[in-house]
Amino acid sequence: MDWSLILSNTFRQMVGTDAMYFAIAALGLNVQFGYTGLLNFGQAGFMAAGGYGLGMTAWYFSISLWWGIPIAIVYALILGLLMGIPTLRLRSDYLAIVTIAAAEIIRLVVRSVRFKEQFGGTDGIGEFAGPFREVGSNLGIEQGNKYGFWVFEYTGRQFWTLIVGWILVAIFGFVVYLLMRSPWGRVLKAIREDEDAVRSLGKNVYSYKMQSLLFGGVVGAFAGMMLALDRGNVQPDNYSRDLTFYILTALVLGGLAKVSGSIVGPMLYWGVYVFIEGVLRGMTSDGPLQIGGVTIIQSTQVGQVQLMMVGAGLIALMTFRPQGLFGNREEMAFDDR
């Protein structure tokens, strides 16, 4: 087994594009779920709003790519309002059901034949990222060249996306950090604890929950935009339920209600994910792994076993460190709602 290859892949993935857009999406989800206690199971829907906001510019509206940013934000706000208006008055479980359904509805609508003209059907929309990459080349990042150092080497195209993406992570991380230390953040955290108490103190809980949902949704839309720009296309099945739950997993791994948790969580998630894959592939590269004549795993099963091991790791984490890697154990102890 080539350990140096496995490890360098692992390190590269920890700051790669997947970890980057996961971190943006997790920052948004953390505001909703970690701080406000809103069970948003539809973050993929907000990401789709972002991706399609960019994708539809040249394809459908025939306008410049840059208009896609305000369009994506408007899409995310509309989606948040549609999900929030009927459900935020109810207990948060209902929000979970509505958000997961809404995200699926979006995916099924954009991939449908009926709306192929607008959304490009199952093939999605491609060839819109040109203007974005041009900015990179204008700054001297050649798409064909390799950039980076040691194991962190990327093509110019990836490198430019990564720079923009991690700058966004830093900006949103700082914004969330500031907001959660403000009186606004205090109201959100109080709502997570007991919304009736907050209501009895004269705060409009409904409005604060809506603000939290919309804020997290817009941040999620930026994650979707980065995903679309990295891939160079938007495809409906990139925004499936799985995506929401992987992001949620990465967030819980890092620790809820901590800015550091929502950035480091996705990095570790992808690191572990790629490391396990590398090890499993290494074990099965010379034929199926056998112990005492019994086949344990063969190369075609690596994908499934990899997810099983991630799941088992998450169960272990929840059992032995329920607050995540960065969470506060003391805080977790008062779960007496």
């Binding site: 914004v175 500031l178 907001l179 403000s182 009186p183 606004w184 953040g185 205090r186 109201v187 955290k189 109080a190 997570r192 604890e193 007991d194 009736d196 108490a197 907050v198 209501r199 009895s200 103190l201 004269g202 705060k203 409009n204 809980v205 603000q211 804020f215 003391e330 805080e331 102890a333 008062f334 007496d336 709602r337």
Partner: protein, 299 residues
């Protein structure tokens, strides 16, 4: 853990303050009849009804609460006291009825607006925000905070000064309620009695004119009860009106200027504590109307 401090302060009933005497003088002219009009009511409820299925949990024809007084709302379990609280504070909607607070109709007003107008409540099961520190709990209570608009959250210089004032007021209240040593602890680490104190102190951060306390003494040890009693009296002496639900008759008798009795959803008696303790209707409601009689039917 801190209740020892309060033990030293157990005192016999203090002499009545000026405001208490004034409140009692104003109520001395009022006839002890259910639904009687008060000279200066802050809260007026008219034919408030709440049905749960076929049962009328609350069915109050008329009720007035005198401004600047401590009014107790008592009654056997299931009398509808807490439901009445929920209706008046907007946490539940009456099937029918009208009520006004400080001359303003409160019909259809959402609970947070009522709180902002000066009607604040506490809960029977204490709602301390366990994962926030005690001081954060307090600061949350302040109204009209500039930093509570989200875009201002990013501009700390806009709200920093107000935040400092709020913190000062919080610290002062925490000192009065003897919670200052717990200032930076999580509210979840407080004892049950301390949580009651915190909830009351937090409610005061809204600068209310009417404080509604739902069983402030439930689960509080006797030593702490004395200090809670003193705090409730202090609210009235500062010009607030207090309406509280309580089962602890000693407390009711000790501190209230007026007592309202509910049973089976209805108002059955009103009066000063002395009038109530000798009222046969009240004794019936608590002990049954055949109290002291033989249970044998044919007698």
């Amino acid at each position: 853990m801190t209740d020892e401090a309060d033990l030293t302060e157990v005192q016999e009933a203090q002499p009545l303050s000026q405001t208490a005497l004034a409140a009692r003088a104003a109520l001395s002219e009022v006839a002890p009849v259910p639904g009687v009009a008060k000279p200066d009511p802050i809260l007026i409820a008219d034919s408030i009804r709440r049905n749960f299925g076929g049962i009328a949990a609350v069915d109050v024809d008329h009720l007035e609460v005198q401004r600047g007084s401590i009014t107790a709302l008592i009654g056997p379990n299931g009398a509808g006291k807490t439901t009445f609280f929920n209706l008046v504070t907007g946490f539940d909607k009456p099937s029918e009825g009208e009520w006004s607070f400080d001359g303003r109709s409160m019909h259809g007003v959402s609970p947070h607006k009522m709180a902002a107008l000066g009607m604040v409540r506490t809960f029977q099961l204490t709602k301390s925000l366990t994962k926030l520190s005690v001081i954060e709990n307090m600061k949350l209570g302040a109204t009209d905070q500039r930093g509570e608009r989200w875009w201002n959250g990013l501009l700390p210089w806009i709200w920093r000064k107000q935040e400092a004032e709020i913190e000062e007021r919080s610290d002062e209240l925490l000192g009065r309620f003897k919670l200052d040593h717990m200032r930076d602890e999580y509210a979840g680490s407080l004892s049950g009695g301390q949580r009651k104190l915190l909830e009351m102190a937090r409610a005061l951060m809204t600068n209310p004119s009417l404080v509604m306390l739902d069983e402030p003494m439930a689960g509080v040890n006797p030593a702490l009860k004395q200090s809670l009693n003193r705090h409730v009296r202090g609210l009235r002496d500062e010009g607030m009106t207090v309406l509280f639900v309580e089962h602890d008759m000693d407390m009711v008798h000790d501190i209230s200027d007026w007592v309202i009795v509910m049973a089976e959803g209805r108002l059955i008696a009103e009066g000063t504590p002395d009038q109530i303790s000798s009222n046969p209707d009240v004794i019936d409601a608590y002990l049954g109307s055949h109290q002291g009689q033989s249970l044998l039917e044919d007698e």
